[in-house]
Amino acid sequence: MRKKWVNIIGLMVLLGIFASSVSIERLDEVKSRAEGSSFDAAAYAGNFWENELLPNLDQAVEINQLFKGLENNPERTFEEYSNALGIGNIRFFMVKGSGTVAEVQDNHIIINTKSDSLSSKTYPVKIATEYIFGNAVRDASGKISLTEFKETMDFNMVSAEINKLVREGVIPQLNGRTKEGEIIKFAGAIEMNKRQVDLRAVEIIPVLVQYNSKTRRNE
C-alpha cells in the first residue's frame, strides 16, 4: 500500500517537472519573436501622421468631384487622383467632403454628402468606425514608398500603426457621439478596385472629422 503511494507521488512529481519544463505557444508568436525587428513602426507612423498626412489633407480630392470623375471618365480619374504601390487593380484615394449624418450603424456612419456645382448627383458615403484595417491611409497619400524599407514586414507594420492612430485618435470622436442630422466635415482614405467600381459602396477610413458646432450645441 505504501509502495503504491510512493509510486503515485513520484509520478505526480515527474508530471509536475514535465509540465513546468514544457510551454505551449502559438507558432506565429514564436516566429514573430524570432524575427524581432529594430524598426520603430509606431514612431514612423506618428511622424508620417503629423508631418506628411495632416498638413496635406487640403490636397485631397473633394468626394463629389471624385464621384463625377469616376462616372464620366474613370480611367483618367484613377490616373489623376489615385495612388498605389502594387501592380494590379487596387487603388487608393485621399478624399475630403462634408454632409449630414443620415444614419449611425454598428460599423459605419452614413453621410449624405453635400451637392456642389460640379456634380448634380451625390451618393451617401460610409465612414468606417469599426473595421480600420488595410493600407488605405498609408498608400492613398502617395507619400510613403516601399523602397524606403529594408523589410516588407516593416512596411506592413507602418499600416498597422497608422490604423491604430485612426482607431485611437479619430474613431472615439465618432463612436457613441454622432447623432443623425449633424453636419460633419471629413477627410480620409478610400480603397477602390478599378474593375469593381461601385459608388454606392464607398467606405472612407477617416483621418479627420469635424462637427459643425451649431448642430452639436445640444450635446
Binding site: R26, L27, D28, G88, N89, F133, T152, N156
Partner: protein, 318 residues
C-alpha cells in the same frame, strides 16, 4: 630535335589554335538563342504550374529558349537546377524559391556567375536577387481577415492551417490575418497547425483536429489546396454546412466552390501577372537595363460570392 619539334607544335597549338577554337566556340554561343531557366518550387500544385508555364510562355514570346525545372519543394534539388543553369550558360533565371532562407545560397551562386535572378511569388531573404515580384500576401490576408470577422459576426471558434513554415508567404498571410482577427477577443483560435500547403496533409490535419474538437465555426487556410483538404475533412465529418472555409490563391476548384457556396472566400493572387512581369524584367536585364526595384508587390484581391463574377481561376475574368 624530336623534342624541340614537339615543343614548337605545342606552342603553335596553345598560341594559335586554342584561341581560334575558343573564338569559334564563342561565336557559336553568340549565335545561339539566349536562354532563360524557370526554376519552380513544385509542379505538384496547379497554381505553380500556371506560374511556371506562363513565365516560360512569356519568355518564349520575347525570343528566348526556355526550360522549366521542378524543385519538388526540395532545396537540394533546387540547388542542382541552379548548378545546371550556371554551367549551361543560361542568361537569366525566373525563380520561384522553395525556402526564403534555404534558397539564398542558390541565388548567391547565380549572382557570382553573373546570372540575374528574378523571384516570382515567393521571396528570398536576400538582396542578391535582381528583383522580386511578389504577391502582397499581407494585404490580401488583411482583406480575408476583415471578411472573416464580418462573416463570423465577431465571435466563434476557428482553426488556422499554416503553409510551409520556412516560406515567408506562410507568415505574411498568417500575420495579415491575425492583424485583424486578434482585435476580436470572442474569436478564439482552437488550433493552429502546419499542413505544408498540401491538400492531403490538410485533410489529415483537419481530421485530427475534428477528432478532438468539433465545436468549430471556421477554418482559415494559408492556401487553396489546404482549403480543399479542410473542406473534404469537414464534409466527411458532416460539418461542411456549419463550418466556413477561407482559402488563399484563387485556384480553379476553390473558385468553383465559392460559386456553389461551399467555400466562403479566397484571396486571388495573380500568378500570370507575376510571371509575365518577371519575364519582362529578365528581358530588360538581358537588353542592358541594370537598375531594378528590389521588390514589387502585386495586388491580392478578396473573392467572395458577392464579386465572384469578376474572377476566373488564377486571375480576373477576361
Amino acid at each position: 630535335m624530336k623534342t624541340r619539334g614537339a615543343v614548337y607544335f605545342k606552342s603553335l597549338f596553345v598560341g594559335l589554335l586554342l584561341p581560334l577554337i575558343f573564338m569559334a566556340c564563342k561565336k557559336e554561343n553568340d549565335n545561339s538563342e539566349p536562354k532563360i531557366a524557370v526554376v519552380v518550387s513544385t509542379l505538384n500544385n496547379p497554381w505553380f504550374v500556371v506560374l511556371a508555364e506562363t513565365a516560360a510562355e512569356e519568355a518564349r514570346k520575347l525570343g528566348y529558349e526556355v526550360n522549366i525545372f521542378d524543385s519538388q519543394n526540395n532545396t537540394a534539388l533546387e540547388s542542382e537546377h541552379f548548378e545546371n543553369a550556371i554551367v549551361s550558360g543560361y542568361d537569366a533565371i525566373l525563380f520561384n524559391p522553395t525556402d526564403a532562407d534555404g534558397s539564398v545560397s542558390s541565388v548567391a551562386r547565380a549572382n557570382e556567375a553573373g546570372i540575374p535572378v528574378f523571384c516570382m511569388d515567393r521571396e528570398v531573404n536576400s538582396t542578391l536577387a535582381t528583383s522580386q515580384v511578389l504577391s502582397d500576401n499581407y494585404a490580401g490576408s488583411v482583406s480575408v481577415g476583415k471578411y472573416f470577422v464580418e462573416e463570423l459576426n465577431k465571435k466563434g471558434n476557428y482553426v488556422e492551417l499554416l503553409g510551409l513554415v520556412g516560406d515567408n508567404n506562410t507568415w505574411n498571410r498568417s500575420r495579415g490575418f491575425h492583424s485583424v482577427v486578434d482585435h476580436y477577443p470572442d474569436l478564439k483560435m482552437v488550433a493552429q497547425q502546419s499542413a505544408d500547403f498540401d491538400r492531403n496533409k490538410a485533410m489529415e490535419v483537419m481530421e485530427s483536429i475534428l477528432q478532438v474538437n468539433k465545436d468549430i465555426d471556421a477554418v482559415f487556410c494559408g492556401n487553396d489546396a489546404m482549403a480543399m483538404g479542410a473542406y473534404q475533412a469537414l464534409k466527411s465529418a458532416g460539418l461542411e454546412a456549419e463550418v466556413k472555409v477561407f482559402g488563399f490563391d484563387g485556384a480553379e476548384n476553390v473558385i468553383e466552390r465559392i460559386q456553389k457556396g461551399d467555400i466562403t472566400a479566397t484571396a486571388m493572387q495573380f500568378p500570370k501577372v507575376m510571371a509575365k512581369t518577371a519575364a519582362g524584367l529578365a528581358h530588360k536585364y538581358i537588353e542592358g537595363q541594370r537598375e531594378f526595384i528590389q521588390k514589387s508587390p502585386v495586388d491580392v484581391e478578396l473573392v467572395t460570392k458577392d464579386n465572384i463574377e469578376f474572377y476566373a481561376a488564377y486571375g480576373q475574368k477576361e
